[in-house]
Each structure stands twice: as structure tokens, then as C-alpha cells.
């Protein structure tokens, strides 16, 4: 279980548990009464790929496939693929003999390239030392869902009796006011949250619900506003 370092309204901090909110179960694919296995397998050897066939048989190789099945390597095709590692080959498909260069591209909304640069290492700004801070900026729940796309949701849970009181208090405050709290990261507590190294920055919005002694505290993460690309931004 991952932990989250977080502060409350009084800027008291605690470390709590981050859970995973899984979608409700939906039907799975299969055959009634049968145990099926969904597998990846080798369907063609390299010699059976289009480029190899063109090289061996010329562009018009269709009839050759019908006549002699040259694309099927009986020793290789059908093998199950288990775990594998991602590798990179040269643009010509050859094995690389030294480490490739990694470049970061910044692409404009219209698809054009704005910048090409060495990848920047981005540090997480919510860590064991730096908490996600309660900024005091409250937004009505109805306004949040009409303004932001909530990309991910992380339920928070207490890890002991003290953190139960801590999280319950936050949940009750937000429940009673029907608001969400903007959470900030970094030393200033005002930056978007970056929860993992090299992760994307996300607005964090905390939502609380209580029912008697029970509570739900959800940290919503958003990296998208509910709006239109610049050229089409007008009231429908």
C-alpha cells in the first residue's frame, strides 16, 4: 500500500494509506462452462513478415502464399509468448550496439512540434518530507465537476486510531460544506501535485463524505479542464 503525507486545515500533518478505486465489475469474455486462457502467441516468424516476403518473392507474392505457405515457420509459429522485455532496434531493424539517445518532444495542440530537448527529470513534490497541503481554497462540488475532468481518484484510509480522527475530521468538514478542497504540493504547498518521480502534475481535489461514524475521503486528480481547444471555444 502506498502512503500519502497530507495536512489538514490546521496544517497538522499525518501519513495515511492510499487505496485503489477499482471500477465496478463488468462482464468478462469467455465460453459458458469452459475455462479459457487468453494468450499472446507467435503468428509469424520474421521471414513471414511483409518486408521479408517482398525481398524473397517480390511485390506480387500473394499466389506464392496460397501455393506453398512460405510465410509459416512450423518450428516457430504458435509458440506462446510469456514475459518479455521492451527493446529498441535501429530504424533499419538492426540490434543496437550502444545505448540510444532519448529525446523529449513537446507537441502543440495542432500536432506541430514546439520543442525537442533532453528529458527533464522531475522530482515528486509530495514525499515523506513534503506533504500534500490543504490550501484553504474551497470549490463547490457542483462547480468542480463542471470545470475539471477528474482523471483519477485515490481513496484515502486511516492507518490507526489517530489518523481515523484526522481523516474523519477532514471528510466531515468537506461533507458539511458540500465543497472540495484544492490540495497543493511542493515546499510552498501551492503547486500541482506530482506524486511520483517524473510523473505529470495534477490538480488535487479532496472530497469528503460521512455517514455516522463512517467516512469516505477521495483525492481526485485532474490534468484537464472541461473546455474546448482555443479556436472552438464558444458557447454551443
Amino acid at each position: 500500500m502506498r502512503k500519502l503525507h497530507i495536512t489538514n486545515e490546521k496544517q497538522r500533518d499525518a501519513t495515511v494509506g492510499m487505496l485503489t478505486l477499482k471500477p465496478d465489475p463488468t462482464p468478462h469474455m469467455g465460453l459458458p462452462g469452459a475455462e479459457l486462457d487468453y494468450r499472446r502467441y507467435i503468428a509469424a516468424a520474421e521471414s513471414g513478415l511483409h518486408d521479408s516476403l517482398v525481398k524473397a518473392l517480390g511485390e506480387e507474392y500473394g499466389q506464392a502464399l496460397v501455393d506453398g505457405d512460405p510465410e509459416i515457420d512450423m518450428e516457430y509459429v504458435g509458440r506462446r509468448i510469456g514475459r518479455s522485455d521492451r527493446i529498441y532496434l535501429s530504424h533499419g531493424g538492426k540490434v543496437l550496439h550502444h545505448a540510444p539517445e532519448v529525446v523529449e518532444l513537446i507537441i502543440n495542440p495542432d500536432g506541430s512540434e514546439r520543442e525537442r530537448r533532453a528529458p527533464k527529470e522531475v522530482l515528486a513534490n509530495v514525499t515523506e518530507e513534503i506533504p500534500a497541503r490543504w490550501t484553504g481554497k474551497r470549490i463547490k462540488k457542483r462547480d468542480v465537476v463542471r470545470r475539471f475532468v477528474l482523471t483519477r481518484t485515490v481513496p484515502l484510509q486511516h492507518v490507526d486510531g489517530l489518523t481515523y480522527d484526522f481523516l474523519y475530521g477532514m471528510a466531515k468538514d468537506l461533507h458539511d460544506s458540500d465543497e472540495m478542497m484544492l490540495m497543493g504540493g511542493g515546499e510552498s504547498g501551492k503547486q500541482p501535485l506530482i506524486l511520483i518521480p517524473n510523473g505529470s502534475p495534477y490538480r488535487g481535489l479532496l472530497e469528503g463524505r460521512v455517514d455516522g461514524e463512517r467516512y469516505i475521503l477521495l483525492l481526485h486528480l485532474s490534468n484537464m479542464e472541461l473546455k474546448l481547444p482555443a479556436e472552438g471555444e464558444k458557447k454551443a
Partner: protein, 200 residues
């Protein structure tokens, strides 16, 4: 004719054209590319676990296999519920009027949003427009193409326009004093992957 989103409130149907909105179209995107010694883009491939095979794009397929390893044709595969019973296919909801249900914001915030569409009205019930302008949020059944489960659509508007958020239903669990989060040493990697937002 382009397919449309049709919704019904109090017996009156409204019809909308729709267009997908995604993050890259709003803000652009950042991506990492791997270059070879000639400065050209490298080709992604896989190395099999035993190191014996380089698996290139186009060399693999996926399929269902029975207990004896026999291949099962995909046309025989159906949706099954948790008990293993076949379920009915859910038709596409596009072009078919779907009943709207007004909901509180929490019904949307707890779900997982998977797509956002901007709507342009073709026929727009005045009463529905008034409710949306006031900030009301409506839930309806949404299924882009026929499959074995419908998603949950939410219709709302803001100063910019009218939107549908397509979501997967999720139900957060209540926390109680007696049930504390338990330290686990087995699933960290899974949750780390979950939080690798770059993949989205």
C-alpha cells in the same frame, strides 16, 4: 448520417452532435522518443524471456485457448457474469433516446472518466437547457458500440458549452474505525503502475 447522442427528459427528446475532446487537443503533449546512432527513430520490439527471440511488430496475435490448448474462435466468445452465465449484448445507445436522471455531483466524481465529448444541439428541449444552465447534472446509459456492458454518461454544461463525460461506474468503500488500512508488501508495484499517469 453521423451518429448522435439522444436523451429524453420528461418525455421530450433532445438530440446532439458530438465531438471528442482530449487533453492533447487542449494543451498539446509531451512524449519521449528513442533515437539510434543515425538520429532516426528506433523501432520498438520485444525480447522473449529466455532471450532466444526478438519479437517485432506484426509477429504476434492474441486469442482464446481451451484447457487442452485448442484455439477457440472469437465469434464463439460471449460476455459472462460473475457466476459464469452468459449476459445479453447491450446495443449502442447512439441515435437511441436515453432517459435522463438528475443526480448529485458525487455520482459523477466517484466514477472513472474515460472519454469527454463536446455536444452541439440539433434539437434542444428548452426545459433541459434551463436545467443545464442552472448547473444540473444528468446521468444516462451510454454505449458507443454494442458490447456486453454500457458505460455511464453524465450530461452537464458550463460557460464553455455542453459536455458528456463517459465513465466507468465505481463504488468507493466506507472507512470505519475498526478497519484500518493494512500494510502490504506484495502489491506496491501494481499500485505504482496505477499511478503512472504518463500512460494516460
Amino acid at each position: 448520417m453521423a451518429r448522435q447522442i439522444n436523451v429524453i427528459k420528461d418525455g421530450t427528446e433532445s438530440i446532439f452532435d458530438f465531438k471528442k475532446v482530449d487533453r492533447a487537443k487542449l494543451y498539446g503533449k509531451r512524449k519521449r522518443v528513442v533515437l539510434d546512432e543515425d538520429g532516426e527513430n528506433c523501432v520498438k520490439a520485444e525480447l522473449s524471456e529466455d532471450g532466444s527471440s526478438i519479437i517485432r511488430s506484426g509477429m504476434t496475435m492474441q486469442a482464446y485457448f481451451g484447457p487442452d490448448g485448442e484455439w477457440v474462435e472469437s465469434k464463439r466468445i460471449v460476455g459472462l457474469d460473475e457466476e459464469g452465465n452468459p449476459v445479453e449484448k447491450v446495443p449502442s445507445t447512439l441515435g437511441v433516446g436515453q432517459e435522463l436522471e438528475e443526480v448529485e455531483p458525487g455520482a459523477l466524481s466517484q466514477n472513472q472518466t474515460i472519454a469527454v465529448y463536446h455536444l452541439s444541439p440539433v434539437e434542444f428541449d428548452e426545459a433541459l437547457k434551463k436545467k443545464l444552465d442552472e448547473g444540473s447534472i444528468f446521468r444516462f446509459s451510454f454505449n458507443y458500440r454494442a458490447d456486453y456492458s454500457a458505460e455511464v454518461g453524465f450530461l452537464l454544461s458550463n460557460a464553455v458549452g455542453i459536455f458528456v463525460l463517459v465513465t466507468k461506474a465505481a463504488t468507493p468503500e466506507w472507512c470505519q474505525l475498526k478497519s484500518v488500512a493494512v500494510e502490504s508488501f506484495t502489491d506496491d508495484s501494481e499500485i505504482d503502475d496505477d499511478l503512472d499517469f504518463e500512460m494516460f
